[in-house]
């Protein structure tokens, strides 16, 4: 039964043991001391050294307890805090007074201090100030010299907190007697030429007169007669004349009527009266040129002659040339002879022209009846008109001689025969059957018979054109006869010689005449004098006074501080000293480094991964208990 009770007792102890007793490092430790300290952040190490020293002292001197060994360690929790220190504190009194507390506070709130200063606190206090204000002041001219009546009247106006302050000043006042003084310098009255000058002076001139008071300056006009020099122009008017004689006449007249002091006549250039001659003259020699210039030369008063001399060739004996020659050589000899005679031939040329046909017919061709025929001059220089029977009309540009007519008929019959015949109706014509016409014009041949009419010959330069009534034409033969040639000379011939051209501009100056004369005459002018008015001064009294009111004025004074804040970094140290208990013989007391669990490195303490429990003991107790209970139970059952 005793074993059973022992078992139950052991079991109860195991069950009531705190669960955490199995953790070695925790259950035997407790806070030995703790506290908080705020130190400068730079003094943390110093403070920790103090803690270390204290822990070492505790481990050394208080390490042994009853049945246990004490081991002390510390831990620190550091929080950095900032603290503001006020330096360079200045207490400032504001000179201004404020009417109210709010005004002073508003002034303080608006104060801006220059960095690094910042505003500190403020103090507003009151101050009573006696104030005297003048309600009324002024000056009174007294009726008597002692001003007693005036003072009595003012005293009657005073209230309780008012006071009359006054002073009596002897003064002088203006009387009724007046005095006038004319402005003089060195006893001579000063006269001003103009009203403006007098006004300007009078406005600034303040004269004095003993016993009198200056009143005003007045300006008085005064007439003054003077002898003055006047010019002819001022007195007479126009003094410029076209002729010298007229000017002399006018000056003599002036001299007779005035007290002349000077006189003369001045010649004045008048460009409007200049005579200008411009031309170009031709001279055969330079000597003639110089002679002309010498004759026309002008003095500087007379005028100016400007010339420009040039030399050039001049044509003379100029005429057209014409001539007809039977050959080219004769024509050329003619032109050569002109050059030999000293002529210059301009545009000279030799033209070959026809001098009419010779009558010798060379070819022909027949054309039927028509109203117009156009034949080129290259192959046509005669036209034969056939109408009716037994008569012909032959046209040439120029008239033919009788020999040429005979030759024409003879050669025509010859050419218009045989195999070369070009018109059968005009073979063997007879000269008596022919009417000869020539030139470019109209021919009325109606006299030849009723069947003949009007025939017109014209030329367009390249063609001969025949116009007629077709009923008046049987047919027409155009033909070409041999022509006579002549050579026509044309152009201009002239001779050349050297000449001198003088281009001149001659200006003969024109003048007018001015009378320059002066004469003394009387002149009346107005001058101005200044007269100053004064009034006589008399003795009197003047009362200067003021009525003053006295009262107390309460004002507010402001004082404030400013300072330079210095932010300090402080460390708030929460420290704790832990005391752990160990049974004697456990713990590395000898090798303990004094820092305990405190770790001031940058890494944390290792996790407490150790774990211990007397589990085996519990199991042994449990199994022992079970075996014991089983034994007792079996024994009890067997006994029963």
């Amino acid at each position: 039964m005793k074993k059973f009770k022992l078992f139950i007792f052991t079991l109860l102890i195991c069950m009531v043991l705190p669960k955490n007793i199995m953790a070695l490092e925790k259950d035997f430790c407790s806070v030995f001391d703790k506290g908080n300290e705020v130190v400068d952040v730079n003094a943390v190490n110093d403070y920790e050294n103090v803690l270390i020293q204290r822990v070492n002292d505790l481990n050394e001197n208080n390490g042994k307890g009853y049945l246990v060994t004490y081991r002390y360690s510390y831990d620190m929790n550091i929080n950095k805090v900032t603290d503001e220190e006020k330096t360079n504190i200045e207490n400032i009194k504001v000179e201004d007074n404020f009417n109210s507390y709010d005004d002073a506070l508003a002034y303080y709130n608006n104060i801006v201090v220059q960095l690094p200063f910042v505003k500190g606190g403020y103090k507003i206090s009151t101050l009573d100030i006696p104030v005297v204000t003048t309600e009324e002041s002024g000056s009174i001219e007294c009726n008597s010299l002692d001003c007693s009546n005036e003072i009595e009247q003012l005293n009657k106006k005073l209230s309780d907190n008012q006071q009359l302050n006054y002073s009596i000043v002897p003064v002088q006042v203006e009387g009724t007697e007046k005095e006038y003084v004319v402005y003089k310098v060195n006893d001579e009255v000063v006269l001003f030429n103009t009203m403006e000058e007098a006004n300007e002076f009078a406005n600034t001139y303040v004269p004095t007169l003993n016993g009198y008071s200056f009143v005003v300056n007045t300006i008085n006009p005064i007439s003054v007669t003077n002898k003055v020099n006047k010019t002819y122009k001022d007195l007479i008017g126009n003094n410029v004349f076209d002729t010298y004689d007229e000017a002399v006449s006018k000056l003599n007249e002036f001299n007779a009527n005035y007290d002349v002091t000077s006189k003369k006549i001045i010649s004045i250039r008048d460009e409007s009266k200049d005579i200008i001659d411009s031309d170009v003259l031709t001279f055969n020699t330079m000597e003639e040129v110089n002679e002309w210039i010498s004759e026309n030369k002008l003095s500087s008063d007379e005028g100016i002659l400007e010339t420009e001399i040039t030399s050039e060739k001049e044509k003379y004996d100029e005429s057209t040339i014409s001539g007809e020659f039977s050959s080219q050589a004769l024509a050329e000899n003619y032109l050569e002879q002109l050059k030999n005679d000293g002529y210059v031939v301009s545009n000279g040329k030799i033209t070959q022209v026809s001098d009419g046909i010779t009558g010798q017919v060379l070819s022909g061709k027949s054309f039927p009846s028509a109203s117009e025929y156009v034949f080129a001059t290259d192959n046509t220089n005669f036209i034969l008109i056939k109408q009716g029977s037994g008569h012909f009309a032959v046209w040439t540009e120029k008239p033919l001689t009788d020999d040429e007519k005979n030759l024409f008929v003879e050669s025509y019959n010859t050419v218009n025969s045989g195999n070369n015949k070009f018109d059968g109706s005009t073979t063997n014509i007879n000269i008596s059957e022919i009417t000869w016409i020539d030139g470019y014009k109209s021919f009325d041949l109606s006299d030849l018979g009723n069947n003949w009419g009007v025939y017109e010959f014209t030329s367009d330069g390249e063609n001969i054109i025949l116009s007629c009534d077709s009923s008046k034409v049987s047919h027409v033969i155009r033909g070409f006869a041999q022509e006579d040639i002549k050579y026509v000379v044309s152009g201009t011939k002239y001779k050349e010689r050297d000449v001198y051209k003088v281009k001149y501009n001659k200006v003969i100056y024109g003048y007018k005449y001015e009378i320059d004369a002066t004469a003394l005459v009387d002149e009346i002018t107005t001058k101005y004098q200044i007269s100053s008015e004064f009034v006589k001064m008399e003795n009197a009294s003047k009362l200067n006074y003021s009525i003053d009111t006295s009262y107390i004025n309460t004002v507010y004074k402001l004082e404030y501080t400013k300072y330079v804040p210095v932010i300090k970094e402080m460390a708030s140290i929460d420290w704790v000293i832990i005391r752990c208990e160990y049974p004697y013989g456990n713990g590395d007391v000898n090798n303990y480094d004094g820092n305990g669990n405190g770790n001031n490195s940058d890494y944390p303490n290792p996790p407490q991964t150790g774990f211990d429990m007397n589990l085996s003991m519990i199991i042994y107790v449990l199994f022992g208990g079970i075996l014991l209970i089983s034994y007792k139970a079996c024994k009890l059952i067997r006994n029963n």
Partner: protein, 241 residues
Amino acid sequence: MINRKKGVIYLVILVIGILIFGLIYWYWNYSSGNYLYIDVDIKNDIDDANYYKDIINEARNKYNNNDVKGILEIENSDYIVPIMQSSDNDYYLNHTPNNEESFMGSIYLDYRVDIDRSKKLLIYGHNSSNVDMPFSILEEFYDKDYYENHKFIAITTSTTKKRYEIFSVYVETSDFSYMDITFDSDSEYLDHIEKLKSKSMYDTDVTLSSNDEILILQTCSEHPDYRNYQKKYLLIILRRV
């Protein structure tokens, strides 16, 4: 009298039943293999962006917890567990991957590191000499023969599977600078990992460089040599191969 004895007998039998039920319940709930291990076959060097992502998502669905950041497996063993990560290093010290409070805790990644991008990873887990805790297996590495057969450990993330080789095994009692993850220069980093290598309890014949990515597995040591130390962390330190 008989009835009273019968009552005592029934009471004793009831207590025994409760005790037995308690033991079974205890074992069922706190055996690490029961809630931690996952059954998955993860292949190396799969050129498919969704392959590893699907595996991690599947693990997250299994535990209904998006804190699953990866999967840790010790080669040549059936040890394959999820890697959790929270905003501190305390939560998964006493919470299972299912977010249930338990002194068993989870295998979890230091809150300061990124499993895909950090050059140095730290993973923690509980150990106990009495109970099978999540990282009790690390105690096997005191034996160099075990190390020889299990020197490679793999971490699968949602993007890849990274393989690490052990280069240092030792128990740290006072210098916890292995927790440091910030280094000013490559030379400082190299000095750091060389120091970790120099503390190894046996030679691993591994050459280090400043370009090495390293992994530290930490649990509490139950080695009898360190029985009297308050802090005694078994560190398995690996470099990525």
